[in-house]
Amino acid sequence: MFLFRNIVFTAVIAGFVSGLCLTLLQSFATVPLIIQAETFESGETTSSHSHDHAHDAATPAHEHGEDSWMPADGAERLLYTAAANMLAGIGFALILLTASEALGGFSGWRSGLMFGLAGFLAFSLAPGLGLPPELPGMPAAELGARQLWWMVTAVCTAAALGLFAFSQTPALAGLGVLLLVLPHLSGAPLPANHETAVPAELHARFVAAVFATSLIFWALLGTLCGAIRVRLRGGEEAYPSNAAESVR
């Protein structure tokens, strides 16, 4: 159980710090754009943004109730965003650490950074190529289908990167190429119509901001995972043969 404890502890520290840093970046880079988009979403009738997502004809079945709880704007909303970012950071850190341990373990911050960049490619860039980061008020295909495509793309990309980095034969690397492009050839679920009140210029800035902040988040998360993991191995002497091995 020492291995489990050490991984969870490492993930909590790395996720907490990265999530906090991400929240700071987002509060300058992405959240103002989300709030700006919400003014278009609710129409011209109200300038104070409402957080519920009344959708246009593209997704009629998915309308959020006005009466369900949501954090109040300002400090409360920021607090919940920070909590969600930290939780996401911890979850992603657990996945990164598990993958690295299965592949031999981190040797320090540098190999952590490499895994973090791979995490950005698999969980941010690849799904984002097919399903660009959305602003509130933008039409989109049915949620379940998009979530499924997102997950399949992330898993395929992660597997492809793993094959590129760790396979010995060209055939397996070829399989990696196939896994990399297959989700994009099959295509992400798209809405029937792309009309939206949200200006394209606002959306373009948002997409760039999401990828920039995500890249910093993933790089920091991986680096911290690698740096903390090598210092946190208490009780794992029961597995000496593996602890000595490292990826890079």
Partner: protein, 58 residues
């Protein structure tokens, strides 16, 4: 020799499989909860985070 190297490179000794499965499941559960849960309250709380991390949202 070859198999031993492969096994240790993969770190796949039996004693590690259970803790690593547990951390994987825990990580997937946490990410799924923050990014994919259809519960209205979770969606609203994690709203800006979901949009900013490019999760499919509403």
């Amino acid at each position: 020799m070859t198999t031993k190297t492969a096994a240790s490179t993969l770190g796949a000794s039996a004693s590690r499989i259970i803790p690593l499965s547990m951390t994987a499941v825990l990580g997937l559960f946490v990410v799924g909860f923050v990014g994919f849960s259809h519960m209205e309250v979770v969606h609203n709380a994690a709203h800006d985070s979901r949009h900013s991390l490019a999760f499919p949202c509403h």
